[in-house]
């Protein structure tokens, strides 16, 4: 599934799948004015970015993120902070 195929509800459940090389290209890079990509790993150690980062990308050097394959996001378990 690609960005053009999703509904508003999908925005919160899907993420864009990155290769390791693609992740390295995005770290510390602005996707729009005053907003920086933040690639993270999901429960399966896949590198992903959010659909918001894909949708709001205006950086001409990274417009390729709009064509990333979308996968369901499953977060890593977060331990209690206590």
């Amino acid at each position: 599934m690609k960005l053009a195929d999703i509904t508003t509800e999908d925005i919160t459940t899907l993420v864009g799948l990155l290769t390791e090389v693609q992740k390295d290209e995005l770290v510390g890079v602005y996707y729009s004015a005053d907003s920086i990509y933040n690639p993270i790993t999901d429960i399966d150690e896949n590198w992903v970015i959010s659909t918001e980062e894909m949708i709001y990308t205006t950086n001409e050097d990274t417009l390729w993120v709009k064509d990333l394959e979308l996968i369901p996001y499953i977060a890593k378990p977060t331990p209690s902070p206590f």
Partner: protein, 292 residues
């Protein structure tokens, strides 16, 4: 006689009734010096210089937003809260660029604690909404270097109601310095000492504040109402940046999805000061038609 600008010249009775002479019963003059005491101020043309600096930096052009910022700054100064602030994020203007500025120091610098947005955020006239997946904002403010022990506060105005989960609205760790609404089955503020309470209000919308203002006194308020007042012992403060919408752990963690419409970091606030801050913030949100 009326001038070309429609105001009287004071030489005689002004047909329009406004002028600098003694015949003007409503007492408005052609300058502040010639107006009766206080009369000129009611026209609202005097913008606070700190408010104006923010308006200029963030390029806020909407008159309603400009007035809301001006009144907020004037109110905080009137209540003697302004000087206790290190960072004030009013989230006005509707874009990442306007939302990043610190009202207290509106320079586009890390040293001014201007926000750096990371990951997924959606910006609108109602504030900034992190996606709860990887969105956070780095304040660049480190408690150890900026805040004094037993003298600090955190606040967050959430426009999102969210069921209990595992998210943190603002904070850093090692040691903990944070604030969250109704996560892990409780609401917590940790500003030089941990304060928890079990929320009696189901909603996580509204203004949450935690403050430590003496060696033995800490408080938490929700929408200006005291939830907790306790004598907590002070922690040391950490050297990692405070994040909004996440905890600065080993990187960002515990991502929040609560839309933020105001947040502040600063010195400790007393009960009265904290309640006054809520009143000012709520008036600010009301002026922007986004109050809860």
């Amino acid at each position: 006689m009326a001038n070309s600008n429609g105001w009287g010249d004071g030489a005689a009775n002004n047909a329009i009734g406004w002028g600098q002479g003694a015949n003007n019963a409503i007492a408005w003059g052609d300058s502040h010096a010639k107006s009766w005491a206080g009369a000129t101020d009611i026209v609202g043309l005097t913008t606070d210089p700190d408010a104006q600096a923010f308006i200029t930096a963030a390029a806020i052009t909407d008159p309603t937003q400009q007035l809301a910022i001006d009144n907020l700054v004037k109110g905080l100064k009137s209540d003697n809260i302004w000087t206790k602030m290190k960072a004030i994020y009013p989230f006005v203007g509707g874009t990442a660029t306007t939302h990043k500025y610190n009202l207290k120091d509106p320079r586009d610098l890390d040293a001014a604690f201007r926000l750096v947005f990371n990951g997924g955020w959606t910006h609108s006239s109602n504030g900034a909404t992190p996606n709860g997946t990887n969105g956070y904002a780095d304040t660049k403010l480190q408690p150890l270097s900026v805040l004094a022990q037993n003298n600090s506060h955190l606040s967050y105005y959430s426009r999102t109601n969210q069921a209990n989960g595992n998210f943190i609205e603002i904070g850093t760790e090692s040691p903990d310095f944070l604030l969250w609404y109704k996560a892990f089955n409780l609401t917590r503020g940790n500003v030089d000492g941990s304060m928890d309470y079990t929320p009696t209000v189901a909603s996580t919308q509204g203004f949450l504040l935690a403050s430590k203002y003496s060696t033995s006194q800490g408080l938490m308020q929700y929408n200006g109402a005291q939830q907790l007042k306790t004598g907590v012992s002070g922690n040391t403060r950490g050297a990692k940046n405070i994040y909004l919408a996440a905890l600065n752990s080993t990187g960002a963690a515990y991502y929040s999805s609560k839309q933020v419409a105001f947040s502040s970091i600063g010195d400790g606030l007393t009960d009265t000061e904290a309640a006054n801050l809520y009143t000012r913030v709520q008036a600010y949100q009301t002026a922007l038609s986004r109050n809860l």
